[in-house]
C-alpha cells in the first residue's frame, strides 16, 4: 500500500463547489464609458464657464502662483514649501507639460481629479453589488449635483478635497464590516489628501478624528487604541511634520505653510445664520445622510458608521465656524456629496425597491443642491449664476484685477507677488516680476535700493498688514521714491513707476 496513488481527480471533483458570492469578479465596460462621459461633460462645462468669464478668486490665485513658479519668478524653495501642495503642484506640472493651454489648465486638472474620484465611486458601487444601471444613474446624479459643480468650478483643490472625502467616507463605512486592510488604507490616506487639497482641510482632519475612532471595530480598539489611531492618523501627521520640516529648512519657519490661518484673527465672526444656512444646504443636497440614520435604526454597526459620517459633516462645519475658517455655505453643502455616495453604497437593500429608493434620494439631493445654489449669496455663486444666465460677472477682488491690468506690458517689477498672486493671473504672465524670494528682490532689500522700473507695495495699514515690499521699504507706500509716479492706486495697493517710463 505504499504505492498509494492519490485520487486527485476524484477529490478535485468533490471539492469543486461554486465560489461563494463576493468572490466572483464582475466587469462592467459601461463604467469606463461613464467616467469618460462625466469627465468630458465636466471639462466642457468648466471650459465654457471660463470662456464665458467665470474665474473664481481661488483659481486666479492658483493660476497666479503657477505662473510665478513656472516663470521662475519665485525661488525653488518657495515652490516646494507652498501650501496646499496638491492643486499647486498638479497645476505647475500640467503647466510645464502643456504650456500652451494657459489658464485652461485648471479645468483640466480639476477634470483629472474628478475622473479619478468618479472611477472610485463606481468601483465602490461595484464592490457594494449595486446593479450597473443603478450605479451609473447614482454616479450621474451625484456628479451632476449643482453644489458639487459649483465647488469644482472654484478650484482644482476642491476636487482633491472631494476625492479625499470620498475615500474617507467609503473607508469609514467599511471599517467595521470587512476588516480589510484596504479600508484602513483608505481612511488613513484620505486625511493627508484632504489636508493637502485645501487650507481648511486641517480643520476637517481634526474634526474626523473622533468619528474615525467611532468606526474602528471594537476588537481592534480593545486590543490597542494607540495602535489603531496611530495607524489611522500617521500619514496625516507625517505630512504635517514633513511640511513643517520643509518649511523649516527652506523658509526658516516650520509653520509658514499654515499662513492661511494667520487671517483668522482679522476675520469678522460669522453670524450663526451662516452656519444654519450651511447645515440646511448640507441636508438639502444629501438627504440620504439623515435618511440612512432612520433606515439603519436596527442595524447597530451600520447605524454607528452612518452616525459617524453625519456627525463628521456637522462637526466639520461647526469647527470651521468656530475657527473662523468656514468656506461659503454652498461649499460646505457640496462636501456632503461624497458622503452621500458612500451612504448609497451601504444603504440596506433587503427589499426589491431599495435601489430605486437610493436613486430617489440622490435625485432629491440634486434638487436640493440646485435650490442651495440658487439661494447662495456669495459672490462666486452669483457670478456662476450670472454666467449661466448670460449676465456680466463682477471681479471678486477688483483692485487686484486693475493692478494686474496696469502691470501688463511692463517688466523689471519689484513685487511681493506671492501676497497677491491673482494679480499675476490678471496680468497673464509673471515675466519681468521679481518676487520676494528672488535674488533681485533680496539684493534690493540688502542694498535698501528699490530702483526697479516699477515697485508694487501694499498699504502697511491694510488689514493683512504689510507685504514683503512694505516691510523692506516701510515708506514706499506713502511716499514712493524720487523720480517715480503712481501707475496704480487702489484701496490696498500702489504701483510706482519711474517717470521716464510710458
Amino acid at each position: 500500500m505504499n504505492a498509494h496513488v492519490w485520487p486527485i481527480e476524484q477529490v478535485r471533483t468533490r471539492l469543486a463547489f461554486p465560489r461563494p458570492d463576493g468572490v466572483t469578479t464582475r466587469s462592467h465596460p459601461p463604467f469606463l464609458l461613464t467616467v469618460l462621459a462625466l469627465t468630458s461633460a465636466l471639462l466642457c462645462l468648466l471650459l465654457w464657464l471660463q470662456d464665458a468669464g467665470y474665474a473664481s478668486q481661488a483659481s486666479l490665485e492658483l493660476w497666479g502662483q503657477a505662473l510665478l513658479a513656472s516663470d521662475g519668478a519665485v525661488a525653488a524653495p518657495s515652490i516646494i514649501a507652498a501650501s496646499p501642495p496638491l492643486p499647486y503642484f498638479a497645476t505647475i506640472v500640467a503647466e510645464l507639460a502643456i504650456p500652451s493651454f494657459g489658464m485652461h489648465i485648471l479645468p483640466l486638472v480639476t477634470a483629472l481629479l474628478f475622473a479619478l474620484m468618479v472611477a472610485g465611486w463606481l468601483r465602490a458601487f461595484q464592490s457594494a453589488h449595486l446593479s450597473w444601471g443603478t450605479s451609473i444613474t447614482a454616479a450621474v446624479l451625484l456628479a451632476a449635483n449643482p453644489v458639487l459643480l459649483r465647488s469644482l468650478a472654484e478650484s482644482p483643490g476642491w476636487a482633491g478635497f472631494h476625492a479625499g472625502l470620498s475615500m474617507l467616507a467609503v473607508g469609514l463605512f467599511n471599517l467595521r464590516r470587512d476588516h480589510r486592510i484596504t479600508d484602513v488604507i483608505l481612511v488613513s490616506l484620505s486625511l493627508p489628501l484632504i489636508l493637502m487639497s485645501q487650507p481648511v482641510g486641517l480643520v476637517f482632519v481634526v474634526a474626523a478624528v473622533p468619528f474615525i475612532a467611532m468606526c474602528v471595530p471594537e476588537a481592534q480598539m480593545r486590543r490597542s487604541v494607540t495602535g489603531v489611531m496611530m495607524t489611522m492618523l500617521f500619514p496625516a501627521a507625517f505630512v504635517l511634520a514633513g511640511f513643517a520640516y520643509v518649511n523649516w529648512i527652506f523658509n526658516d519657519d516650520a509653520f509658514a505653510f499654515l499662513g492661511h490661518f494667520a487671517e483668522i484673527p482679522i476675520t469678522p465672526p460669522l453670524p450663526a445664520s451662516v452656519l444654519g444656512l450651511a447645515l440646511a444646504g448640507m441636508v438639502a443636497s444629501a438627504p440620504i445622510l439623515p435618511a440612512i440614520l432612520v433606515r439603519t435604526r436596527k442595524q447597530g454597526s451600520l447605524r454607528r458608521a452612518s452616525l459617524a459620517i453625519g456627525g463628521f459633516a456637522v462637526a466639520g462645519a461647526g469647527l470651521c465656524g468656530m475657527t473662523q475658517t468656514m468656506p461659503v455655505p454652498v461649499q460646505l453643502a457640496a462636501l456632503t456629496i461624497p458622503l452621500a455616495m458612500a451612504a448609497a453604497t451601504r444603504w440596506p437593500r433587503n427589499r426589491s425597491r431599495s435601489e430605486m429608493l437610493v436613486i430617489a434620494m440622490l435625485a432629491f439631493g440634486w434638487i436640493g443642491g440646485a435650490v442651495t445654489l440658487l439661494k447662495a449669496q456669495d459672490v462666486e455663486s452669483e457670478n456662476l449664476r450670472a454666467v449661466l444666465m448670460g449676465r456680466p460677472t463682477v471681479a471678486v477682488d477688483g483692485e487686484l484685477a486693475a493692478l494686474g491690468v496696469a502691470l501688463q506690458g511692463h517688466d523689471d517689477i519689484l513685487f511681493d507677488a506671492a501676497a497677491a498672486p491673482a494679480t499675476i493671473a490678471h496680468r497673464g504672465s509673471a515675466h519681468g516680476i521679481s518676487a520676494a524670494s528672488s535674488i533681485r528682490f533680496r539684493l534690493a532689500g540688502m542694498r535698501q535700493d528699490a530702483r526697479a522700473r516699477i515697485q508694487v507695495v501694499r498699504d502697511t495699514r491694510s488689514i493683512r498688514g504689510a507685504d514683503a515690499m512694505g516691510r523692506t521699504f516701510p515708506d514706499l507706500y506713502e511716499r514712493g521714491l524720487p523720480g517715480y509716479r503712481l501707475l496704480h492706486e487702489g484701496p490696498e495697493w500702489r504701483a510706482w513707476i519711474r517717470e521716464d517710463q510710458p
Binding site: M1, N2, A3, H4, W6, P7, I8, Q10, V11, R12, R14, L15, A16, F17, R19, P20, G22, V23, A76, I80, D178, H179, R180, I181, T182, V184, I185, S188, A219, Q220, R223, S224, T226, G227, V228, M230, T231, F234, P235, F238, V239, G242, Y245, V246
Partner: protein
C-alpha cells in the same frame, strides 16, 4: 470506505493471538485502517501500538519466513541497481543476498510488506525461483539509502547544475555578467575622472528613481494584498469539511536540522499535533552525519515509526538545500513540505493545503503558508521582526499573488507537489536562499504558487548578532537569485512577463539594493543636517532635490505606515507603536546587506547558521514538551 484486506485481517488476528496487541487495540486500528485506507501494520506502527522489530518478527513467524535486520546484515551491493532504488522504496522489496540452499544458489529478496501483493511483485520482478525474508520498513529504507549514499550525495549537490546549469548558482558570476559589471565600473570611473559632478548627479538620479519605484511598487502590492481574505478562508474551510481521511494522500515532511538538539522535542510535539492521519505522514528528520548531539537527542526521543531519521553524509557545500535534496530522494508523499526545527504549524495546515491543491488549477505546484513568530513580545528585535514578517506574509505576498508576480518562497512551510519538485531537480544547494530561488524557477517553468491562510509559528531571532547572520545569508541568497535569473533577461521576460520581472527586480533586487545604498544617503543627510554644508548642493539640482526630498519624506513615511498596517490582519495592534522605530531595523538590514555582499565575493556558498532555541519562549516550550504537555 473499503473493507479490510484478508492479509490485514490475518495479521491482526495473529498479533492478538501472540499477545502483541489487545483486541480493543486491534478494533481501533482496524477502524482507522478502514477510515484512512491504509494497511493495518502502518496504522499500528504510526500509533506506536507495536514496535517495528516486534511487528516484523511476528509477521515473519506468521508467514513462516526468516526475519533479517538489514542494518546489521546489509544487502549485497552488487545485487542492487541505483535505477531501481525508487522501486525498492515504493514496493518495499529489495534483493538481499544470494544464498546457498538445498536447491542451489538462490536469490533472497527482503520485503517489508509481506503478503500476496508483495509476492506478486517479487515474482514478476525477480521470477519465482527466489527466497523471501522479512525485514522492517525502516531497515529496508535505511539499507537502500546506505547503499547509494555516495551517489545520492553527489546528485544532491550537482543534479541541478548537471541538468540545468543556467538555473544553478554554482557559477556565481557568468563571464557576461562579469563583463557588464566591469563595463559599468569602468564607465563610473571614467565619468568620475572626466565629469565627476555630472557622474554623481546621474548616479544620484538613478538611485532616487529606484527608491521611488520601490516605494510605489510596495504600496501597490500592499493595496492589492489588502483585500478581504475571509472569503478565501471560508472556501478552504468548506473544502476541508468535504475531505474525508481516505481522500488524503501520503504527506512527506522534511525537517532539516543542524546542531539543534534542544528544539527537537518541541518539533516532535508540534508534528504529532497535526490533524492528519498519522499513517499517512512520512516525516523525515534530516540530520548531518557529524552532528552527534542532535542525532543522539533524536534517537533518545524514541520517535514513532512515522519519524524517520535521515543522516546526510558530509560533503560541501554544507547547506540546508543539499540536505533536503538528499532526503527528498526518499520522499514517498504526494506532497512534500519543509519545516524548520523550531516550527509550530497550525494543526490543520496539511489538510488546508490538500484542499487548496485540489481546488487549484494543475499549474499550481506550490502552496505557501504564512510564517510568523510565537515570541513576538520578547524584545525590540522580535517585535520588529514580527512586523516585518507580518508585512511580508500577510500583506505583500497576497498582493504579489494577485498581481501575478513570481513569489519568492519563504524558508519553510512551502508545500510542493512532489512530482513537480522532482521535475525541477528540487533545491539549488549552492543558493543560500534556495526557497526564494525555487519560487522564481517554478514560475519560469510555467508553474504557480498559491497562498493559503494557515500559519506556521517560528522563533524570532532574539539577538542582534544572530539576526544579522541570518539576514546576511538571506540577502546573499537574494543576490545569488538575482544573478541566476537575470542571466537570460530576454527569456526571463518572456517567461514571467514584464510585471513579473518588475516585481522580481523590486522585491529581490530592491531589498538588497536599498540595504546597500541606504547608508550612503543616510550619511549625506546626517552630514548635511548637522553641518548645513552647501557642498552637497551641486549634486542635487532642483528636480533631483525635490525627488530626493519626496523620497526622504513621503517614501520613508510610507514605509513606516506600511509597517503599521502589518499587524492589522492578526490584530496584533500593540506592535504598531513600535513601527516608527523601524529605522533602527533598517540600519541592521544595511549591515546585513554589506556583510552579504562581502560573503558573496569571498564565501558564496557558506551557510550562515541561525541558532535556534535562544528565546525564553522556546525554553518554556521545551519544558512543556519534556513534560508531555501540548498547546500551541
Amino acid at each position: 470506505m473499503g473493507d479490510i484486506s484478508n492479509t490485514d485481517a490475518w495479521t491482526g488476528d495473529h498479533l492478538v493471538d501472540q499477545g502483541i496487541i489487545t483486541l480493543p487495540e486491534l478494533d481501533e486500528a482496524w477502524a482507522l485502517s478502514r477510515r484512512w485506507q491504509m494497511p493495518l501494520p502502518d496504522v499500528l506502527l504510526s500509533r506506536s501500538s507495536v514496535d517495528s522489530r516486534t511487528l516484523y518478527r511476528s509477521l515473519a513467524d506468521r508467514f513462516g519466513l526468516d526475519h533479517v535486520d538489514l542494518i546489521d546484515e546489509p544487502p549485497d551491493l552488487t545485487l542492487l541497481s541505483e535505477s531501481d532504488a525508487e522501486t525498492y522504496m515504493r514496493e518495499l522489496a529489495v534483493p538481499w543476498r544470494v544464498r546457498e540452499t538445498a536447491k542451489g544458489k538462490r536469490l533472497t529478496i527482503a520485503t517489508a510488506r509481506p503478503g500476496p501483493q508483495a509476492m506478486l511483485f517479487i515474482r514478476r520482478r525477480w521470477g519465482s525461483e527466489v527466497d523471501v525474508v522479512i525485514t522492517s520498513r525502516r531497515a529496508l529504507r535505511q539499507a537502500v539509502q546506505q547503499a547509494f549514499s555516495q551517489s545520492w550525495t553527489r546528485r544532491a549537490i550537482y543534479d541541478l547544475d548537471d541538468r540545468d546549469p543556467v538555473m544553478s548558482a554554482r557559477t556565481v558570476f557568468t563571464p557576461v555578467q562579469l563583463l557588464i559589471l566591469w563595463a559599468l565600473a569602468s564607465a563610473c570611473a571614467i565619468g568620475a575622472v572626466l565629469a565627476p559632478i555630472a557622474t554623481l548627479i546621474v548616479l544620484n538620479a538613478l538611485m532616487s528613481v529606484f527608491y521611488l519605484g520601490n516605494f510605489a511598487f510596495k504600496g501597490l502590492a500592499i493595496w492589492a494584498g489588502g483585500v478581504d481574505l475571509a472569503a478565501q478562508q471560508r472556501e478552504i474551510d468548506a473544502a476541508i469539511g468535504l475531505l474525508a481521511d481516505e481522500d488524503l494522500p501520503v504527506y512527506t515532511i522534511l525537517v532539516p536540522m543542524f546542531r539543534e538538539p534542544d528544539v527537537l522535542p518541541i518539533l516532535a510535539g508540534a508534528l504529532r499535533r497535526l490533524d492528519y492521519p498519522a499513517a499517512k505522514l512520512d516525516i523525515k528528520i534530516v540530520l548531518e552525519e557529524g552532528d552527534t548531539p542532535t542525532i543522539d537527542a533524536a534517537r533518545a526521543l524514541k520517535l514513532e515509526e512515522i519519524f524517520e531519521i535521515i543522516l546526510v553524509p558530509p560533503s560541501h557545500p554544507q547547506t540546508k538545500p543539499k540536505a533536503c535534496n538528499y532526503a527528498f530522494r526518499l520522499a514517498r508523499g504526494e506532497f512534500c513540505v519543509i519545516y524548520d526545527a523550531e516550527d509550530k504549524p497550525e494543526p490543520d495546515q496539511l489538510k488546508r493545503v490538500v484542499a487548496a491543491f485540489a481546488r487549484a488549477p494543475k499549474t499550481v505546484a506550490c502552496v505557501q503558508c504564512r510564517l510568523n513568530y510565537y515570541n513576538r513580545d520578547e524584545n525590540w528585535l522580535t517585535r520588529l521582526f514580527t512586523l516585518d514578517y507580518s508585512l511580508w506574509f500577510d500583506l505583500m505576498l497576497p498582493g504579489l499573488e494577485r498581481m501575478g508576480v513570481p513569489i519568492p518562497l519563504g524558508g519553510t512551510s512551502n508545500h510542493f507537489r512532489t512530482d513537480v519538485l522532482r521535475e525541477l531537480h528540487a533545491w539549488d544547494p549552492f543558493n543560500v536562499t534556495e526557497d526564494a530561488d525555487l519560487g522564481i524557477r517554478m514560475t519560469q517553468k510555467g508553474y504557480r504558487t498559491k497562498l493559503v491562510e494557515s500559519t506556521t509559528f517560528e522563533e524570532a531571532n532574539v539577538s542582534v548578532g544572530n539576526w544579522i547572520r541570518q539576514r546576511s545569508r538571506w540577502i546573499k541568497g537574494y543576490m545569488q537569485t538575482l544573478l541566476v535569473h537575470l542571466r537570460r533577461p530576454g527569456d526571463f521576460v518572456q517567461q514571467v512577463g514584464p510585471l513579473g520581472v518588475l516585481g522580481f527586480v523590486m522585491f529581490i533586487g530592491g531589498t538588497m539594493t536599498s540595504g546597500l545604498i541606504n547608508p550612503v544617503f543616510w550619511a549625506v543627510f546626517v552630514v548635511w543636517a548637522v553641518t548645513q554644508a552647501a557642498g552637497f548642493d551641486i549634486f542635487f539640482p532642483p528636480v533631483l532635490l525635490y525627488l530626493s526630498l519626496f523620497n526622504l519624506l513621503a517614501g520613508n513615511g510610507m514605509l513606516i505606515f506600511l509597517m503599521m498596517l502589518a499587524p492589522f490582519r492578526r490584530n496584533w495592534l500593540e506592535l504598531t507603536a513600535w513601527a516608527p522605530t523601524v529605522i533602527g531595523y533598517w540600519v541592521l538590514m544595511s549591515i546585513a546587506a554589506w556583510k552579504g555582499l562581502f560573503q558573496l565575493i569571498t564565501r558564496p556558498f557558506y551557510w550562515e547558521k541561525t541558532t535556534h532555541g535562544l528565546s525564553r519562549m522556546t525554553a518554556i516550550e521545551r519544558a512543556r514538551a519534556d513534560s508531555g504537555e501540548g498547546g500551541a
